[in-house]
Symmetry: C2
Subunit: 209 residues, 2 copies
C-alpha cells in the first residue's frame, strides 16, 4: 500500500487453495459495504464504487439498466478495509494495516428471475440487514429497470497487513515514537426522515446496527 516492505500475509490466487483462504476471502467481502469495480471502456480503465451482496462463491452487483458500466465482461472487484496507520521511524516504512480482497472475473448478466430476486435480496441484506421484507420488495417496474451482474469468486487474492512498523534496526531509537494509530468506524444515531412521526423508535434491525 505504501513504501513499506514489511512482510504481508498474501494469500494469493485462491484458485488452487483450500477452505481457509476461501473463508478469509468471504470475511473480507462480508465486512465491507462498498466495492470498487474496475472495467475497461474504450481501452482505458474505469473504477466505480458500488454496493454488493454475496451468495456462496458469487458476488452480485446491480444498478440501473441505463448504467453504461453494468455490462457482462471482464471486471476486477476490490474491497479494502483500513485498520490502522503505521507510523515508523523512517518514512520509508510508513504503512497501513489493512485487509483487501481483489477478485478477477468475467461478469455475467443474470437473466434467471429467481437468481435475480435472490441477488437483490442479498445486496439489500448486505447493506442493511433485516430490511428485505421490512421495506417493500421490488415491483415489476422496478425489476425491469434493474440490471444484476454475477461475479464468480474463484479467482481472487486476499492481502492482510497487521502489526507494528517494520523499521530497520539502525533506525530504532528512543527519540522517535513509532507504532500504530487504529482506524475506528461505526454507526451513528439513526436519523428519521421528515415523514416519520415524532417519537417513533427505529425498528430493532436499524437500532441494533
Amino acid at each position: 500500500m505504501t513504501l513499506s516492505t514489511t512482510p504481508r500475509t498474501t494469500l494469493g490466487r485462491l484458485r488452487e487453495r483450500g477452505a481457509t483462504d476461501r473463508t478469509a476471502l468471504h470475511d473480507v467481502l462480508d465486512a465491507g459495504l462498498v466495492c470498487h469495480v474496475g472495467l475497461v471502456r474504450d481501452g482505458a480503465p474505469v473504477v466505480l464504487p458500488t454496493g454488493y451482496g454475496r451468495i456462496g462463491d458469487t458476488l452480485y452487483l446491480h444498478g440501473s439498466t441505463g448504467a453504461r458500466w453494468l455490462r457482462a465482461g471482464p471486471v476486477c472487484v476490490t474491497v479494502t478495509h483500513l485498520d490502522g496507520l503505521v507510523y515508523a521511524r523512517s518514512v520509508f516504512h510508513f504503512s497501513m494495516n489493512y485487509r483487501s480482497a481483489v477478485v478477477f472475473a468475467e461478469a455475467r448478466t443474470v437473466a434467471d428471475e429467481q437468481e435475480r430476486w435472490a441477488a437483490l435480496e442479498a445486496i439489500v441484506e448486505h447493506l442493511a440487514p433485516g430490511s428485505w421484507g421490512y421495506a417493500r420488495v421490488p415491483n415489476r417496474r422496478e425489476l425491469a429497470a434493474t440490471v444484476v451482474l454475477a461475479v464468480d469468486l474463484t479467482e481472487a487474492s486476499v492481502k492482510v497487513r497487521t502489526g507494528p512498523p517494520g523499521d530497520d534496526p539502525e533506525d530504532v531509537t528512543d527519540a522517535v515514537w513509532a507504532g500504530v494509530v487504529p482506524l475506528t468506524g461505526g454507526y451513528g444515531t439513526p436519523q428519521p426522515d421528515a415523514h416519520v412521526p415524532a417519537g417513533t423508535e427505529p425498528p430493532p434491525h436499524v437500532r441494533t446496527r
Copy 2:
C-alpha cells in the same frame, strides 16, 4: 451506488468547469486515506488500493520498483467516502450517502529528483501529517527502490449523495421507518511498538490526530 434513483449532485467532468468544482474534487481527495487505482493488464481490469498525496492538480502514487502495476499508462483513480446508509420504505430506494472522486489520466513516471522528493513528502504528509522530518527521510537506496507516478487531475468527476431517502409518495406510511444511519470514523488510541520505552507519550502530531 445502489438501486436508488434519488437525484445526486453530479459535478461531472471537470475539464471545462470552474474553481468550485475543483475545490470539491480537492476536498474529496484530501479527505481520503486510500484510493483505488484501476489499470488495464493484458486487456483486463485490475483495481488495487494504495496511498496517495496531492500537490495542486497532480496526484502522486508510489511503490516499489518491483510492483508490476506501477507503470506509466492510462489509469483511473477513485476515492470514495461513505457517509451514511439510506434506509427507504421500498428496497428499490435504499442507497448510500457518499462522496466520490473519479480521475481519468495517463499516469506519468516521475524522473525529476526534486519532484520525486516533493511527491514522497506529499504522500507521507497525506497519510500521517507532521511525520516528514520527524521520522527519517528516505536515503539513496530507498529512493532508488521507489517508483513515483504522477496523475493529472484535469479530467475528473465528483459525485455526492446527501440527505434522506427518495421514497415514492405512495410508499410513505407511518408503519415503516425510513431515514439515514450515519457512518462514523475516527482514530483510536495510538499503540506504541515494542521498542518505545514504557511511559513515552506519542508526539503531538500523532496524539492530536
